[in-house]
Amino acid sequence: MAQQSTIPAFCLEYWQNKAVEWGQATTLASQQDVCLHLQQLKDFLQEIFQKLQHMNTTAAIKTFPLVGQLLGRLCWNPCVVADEESQRTLLQCLWCLYSAEPQNAIELKANDWIQSLIRHLISDSETETENNSFIQILGYTSEEYHSNVVKCMVSSLVTELRESCCNGIHMPKRFTPDRLHSLSVFCIPLVTCLEAAPLIEALLTCCESGSGETLSADFLKAVGTALLQKKIGLQETVIIGLWLRYLPSLENVTLHLIETVVSTPHFSPQEMESLINDSLLPKASARHPHIFMIVDTIFRNILLESDGYLLVQTLMQMFTRSFIQALLFGEAQDKPPLKAFFPHNPQPLLMALLKHPSDVPSQVWPQHLLCIVETLKVAVEDKDNGGSQRGLFENWFLLVHCGDWVDIAAQQLIASKAETSEALLWLLAFYHHPNNENQQRTKLLAVARKVCDHLKVLFSSTTLSLSHLQTSLDLAEANSEESGSKYMFNQLFLNFLLFSAGGQVIAKDAVHLMTHGNLLNGISAMLAGAEHRLNSYGLMDYKAHRTLKLLQEHLKRKA
C-alpha cells in the first residue's frame, strides 16, 4: 500500500506491467488488485486521453508505443469495464487512436485492431447467441436479461449480508470481517451501477464489528465521490453513516459547498439556503456534535484564510440558521444539549445569540440586542474565561455565526435612543475588531459615535442634500484604512439612506460618493441582504423598499 503514494501519476510502463499482471492471474486477489487501483487508473486514463486527443495515430504510437497494448488488455478486464467512467474513458482513448483517413500502414493496422476491440466490447454483448433465443422467446431484451442477472446476484448477497449482520451474540457470523472487506473492494467498480445500489446500501448499513473499520477505505472514498457528483442517491441515514465512518467524505462535502458558494457570488438567499439544506450538513450536524465540530472547523479555517470573506460569513450564518432549525425540529431522540456543540461559549450568550431575528418579534429587537451586548461584554471581559485570547476568539466566532443580529443592530442604530446606541455601536465595533490590543476598536468606536450622532440629527429631516452628509462621509473616509471599518461605515450610511425621511432623494449620489465607483459588489450584496431582511421580517416599510429598488436598479445599470 505504501507503494501507491510514491508512484508518479503518469507512468505508462507501470500500468502496462500492471495490466499484464492482471491479465495473467485470474485469482480473486488479482481482481481485487484491479479494484483497489481503479481510481488511480481512471485518473491515468483521463491524462492519457488529454494527451492523445491532440495527436494523430502515428505520432501517438511513436510517443507511447505501448499504449495500444495497454488499452487492449484493459478492455478484457471486467473490473475496468464495469465502471462507467473508466469504460467511457477507455473508449475515448481507443477512438483517439483510430484514424478516419489512414495515411500509412501503421494507421491501417491500428484501425483494424481497434475495430475488432471495440466490436468485442460493444456489439458482442448484444449479439451473443448463447442466451439469445431463450431470452427472446420470453419477450425480454438482452439488456433486461443481464440486468436481471446482476439483480439476482445482488439480492443473494444482500440477503446474506442482512442475515449475517443483524444476528444475536451466539450465532456465528457468516460474513467474517475479511470477507466483508473483500466484498467491499469488489463493489468499487459497481458504485455507480444502478442495479447494485441495494448492495452498496447494505454494505454501508452493516453493523460494525467493533474493532476498526471493516470496509475498504477505497470503497468508502468511491461512494463519497459518487455522492458528490450526484451519480447515486442514498438514504439520509446511510449518507450520515458514511460521513461518520469516513471523515474525508464529510470534509469533501463541506469544501464542495464552500467552493460552490464562493464561485457563484450571485446566489439569492433562498438558493443558498436550499443548497445548504440539500447538502444534508445541517441535519447531520444537529444529530452528531462530532460532525458539527468538523464542519465548523472547516468553516473557521476558510474564514480566517480568506480574511473574513463576506460570502463565507453569509454561508456560515445561513448554515447556523439551518442547523439550529434542524436541532429544534428534528426527531426528539437523544438531542444533544447546546453545550455539546459549543463547549467554549457561556450558556446565556448561546441562548441570546442562537435565537434568530425572525423568531423574535421586531418590537422586542432593541431589548434583545441589549441583552446580547451585555452577555457578550461579560463573556469577553471576564478575566477568568472570556478574557483569554481563546475565549475572545470563540465568542467572536459565535457572533459571526449569528451575524444576522449584527445587521439588525446596524439597521436599528440610527433610530435608536442614546443608551441603546452606545451598546449597538460597541457591538458593531466588536464585530469588526474583536481584538483591542492596539486600541483599534476604541478608535473605531469614537469615530463611529461621531458619524452616528451626525446621522441621527439628519434622520428626521425631510429635505436633505448631499452636502449635509459630506462631513460624515469625509470622516468615514479618513478612518477606513481597514476593510472592516469601511464595511461598517457603509452599513451605517446605507441604513440611513434606506430608513431616513429624506434619504431617498440623495441615495444615488451618496452611494456614488461612498464607493467612488468601486466596490459596487459589496454594496449590492449589502442591498440584497437588506432586501432579504425587509422581506423576511415582515417590516412594512414601503419607502425603504422603494429606495432599495432605486439603488439596485442604479447599480445594475452601472455594472
Binding site: L28, Q31, C35, P78, C79, V80, V81, A82, Q87, R88, L91, Q92, A100, Q115, I118, R119, L121, I122, S123, D124, S125, E126, T127, T129, N132, S133, F134, I135, Q136, I137, L138, G139, Y140, T141, E143, E144, Y145, H146, S147, N148, V149, V150, C152, M153, V154, S156, L157, E160, P172, R174, R179, S182, L183, F186, C187, P189, L190, C193, E195, A196
Partner: protein, 356 residues
C-alpha cells in the same frame, strides 16, 4: 392497425436480413434507409408501450413472425416487442457483427460507435451506442459480482442457494414472470396450453443441453418471488409431473440437493420422485459376479447414484426424511424384511445408507 402489423413484418425481415449474407449487396443508401426504418419503429414502440392491447397484438405477431423466419434464415435472432424500442441498437449490432457486410459500409457504421464528445456536428442522438455500452457494462458487472460470490463463505443453512448459479436462477425467475404476465392477459388461451407451449418452446431451444433446461425448470419451481394467486408455479409443477419420461430426464439433470429441496416444498413432487426412485430401484438386478446392483438397460442409472439420491433425501428437512424412511422401511418389509446383502434392493439400500 393492420398496416402497423405489416410493417412489423418488414422490420423483422429487415433485422433478419441484417444478419444474413444478403447484406453483401447493400449500399450506403440502403443502410441509411434501414436506420430510418429503425427510428420509425422506435417511435412506434414509444407510442404503444403503455397500450396493453396493441402491445399484446404486436408481441403475438412477433411470435409468429419469429417462427416463420426462424425456418427461413439460419442464424435468426428472435425478436421481442421490447427489442423494437432499441431497434437501432439491435440493427447496428447485427450489422457490425455480420462478416458479409462490405468493408466500406462497415467502416461508416463503425463511426456510429464514436462517443459524442468528438462530434463537431453537435449533439447526436447516441441512444444506440449508449444501449450497447450499457449491456457491455452489465455483463462486466455480473462477472465482477461472480467473483464476489466466490469469496470464501461458510456453508449457510440453505445449500440450494449455492447450487443454483445466478444465471440459471435468473432464467427461472424470468420464465415465471413471463408466464404470470401472459396468464393475466385476457386474450390468453387455456392456461394449461400456455404452459405447455412455452415449455415446449424452451425445451426445443435447449435441445442440445437438456440438463440446462431441467435446471431452469427447477429454478422456476424454486423461485423466490412468486405471486401465489397466479398459480403459475403450480401449473409448471403439473406440467413437470404430467409426463413420466420428462420427469425422469428432469431428475437426472438436476443436482440431488435441489431435488431434495423440491421434495420438501411440493408434496406432489415428493410422491412422484419417490415413485420414480422406487421404480428405478425395483428394476435393478443383483450382479453376483461383481457383487453389485446393476440396471439392466441403462448403465447410467447406477447404484451409487441411487444411494446418493436417497441420502440427500434423508439429510433433508424432517418431513422429507420421515417420508423417505417410512417408504424404505415399508418396501423392505414388503420384500420379506431380509437383513442379508444381495437379496432385496431395499435392504441393501438401508445398509448402505446406514454406513454413511
Amino acid at each position: 392497425m393492420e398496416s402497423i402489423l405489416q410493417n412489423l413484418n418488414g422490420m423483422a425481415e429487415l433485422l433478419a436480413v441484417a444478419r444474413s449474407e444478403y447484406v453483401s449487396h447493400w449500399d450506403p443508401e440502403t443502410v441509411q434507409r434501414a436506420f430510418q426504418w429503425a427510428t420509425y419503429f422506435e417511435h412506434l414502440h414509444d407510442r404503444f408501450r403503455t397500450n396493453t392491447r396493441v402491445h399484446k397484438a404486436l408481441a403475438d405477431r412477433l411470435l409468429s413472425i419469429n417462427e416463420s423466419l426462424r425456418n427461413t434464415f439460419g442464424l435468426y435472432r428472435e425478436l421481442s416487442f421490447k427489442d423494437v424500442g432499441h431497434c437501432r441498437g439491435v440493427l447496428l449490432a447485427s450489422l457490425l457483427s455480420n462478416p458479409a457486410l462490405p468493408k466500406t459500409l462497415s467502416d461508416t457504421l463503425f463511426a456510429r460507435l464514436r462517443p459524442c464528445c468528438f462530434d463537431t456536428t453537435g449533439q447526436r442522438d447516441q441512444s444506440d451506442l449508449n444501449h450497447l455500452i450499457g449491456i457491455a457494462r452489465l455483463k462486466a458487472a455480473s462477472k465482477v459480482l461472480s467473483h464476489a460470490l466466490k469469496l470464501d463463505g461458510s456453508t449457510g443453512t440453505k445449500p440450494y442457494l449455492l447450487l443454483l448459479d445466478p444465471e440459471t436462477e435468473t432464467k427461472g425467475e424470468m420464465v415465471l414472470k413471463s408466464l404470470e404476465t401472459w396468464m393475466r392477459c385476457p386474450s390468453a388461451g387455456p392456461r394449461d396450453k400456455l404452459v405447455d407451449s412455452l415449455f415446449a418452446q424452451l425445451q426445443q431451444d435447449k435441445i442440445n443441453n437438456s440438463s440446462d433446461f431441467s435446471k431452469i425448470v427447477a429454478a422456476v419451481l424454486l423461485a423466490k418471488q412468486t405471486s401465489t394467486e397466479s398459480g403459475a408455479v403450480d401449473l409448471a409443477l403439473k406440467w413437470l409431473l404430467s409426463n413420466r419420461c420428462q420427469l425422469q430426464t428432469f431428475c437426472l439433470g438436476v443436482p440431488c440437493a435441489l431435488l431434495s429441496e423440491l421434495a420438501h416444498r411440493y408434496p406432489a413432487f415428493r410422491c412422484a420422485y419417490l415413485e420414480l426412485l422406487t421404480k428405478w430401484a425395483r428394476s435393478m438386478e443383483y450382479d453376483f459376479s461383481c457383487g453389485d446392483w446393476r440396471h439392466g438397460s441403462s448403465p447410467e442409472l447406477n447404484w451409487k447414484e441411487l444411494v446418493d439420491r436417497f441420502m440427500y433425501l434423508l439429510e433433508g428437512p424432517t418431513l422429507v426424511k420421515e417420508a423417505t424412511e417410512t417408504a424404505l422401511c415399508a418396501l423392505k418389509a414388503d420384500d420379506g424384511d431380509f437383513e442379508v446383502w444381495g437379496i432385496s434392493v431395499w435392504t441393501d439400500l438401508l445398509i448402505a445408507l446406514k454406513k454413511m
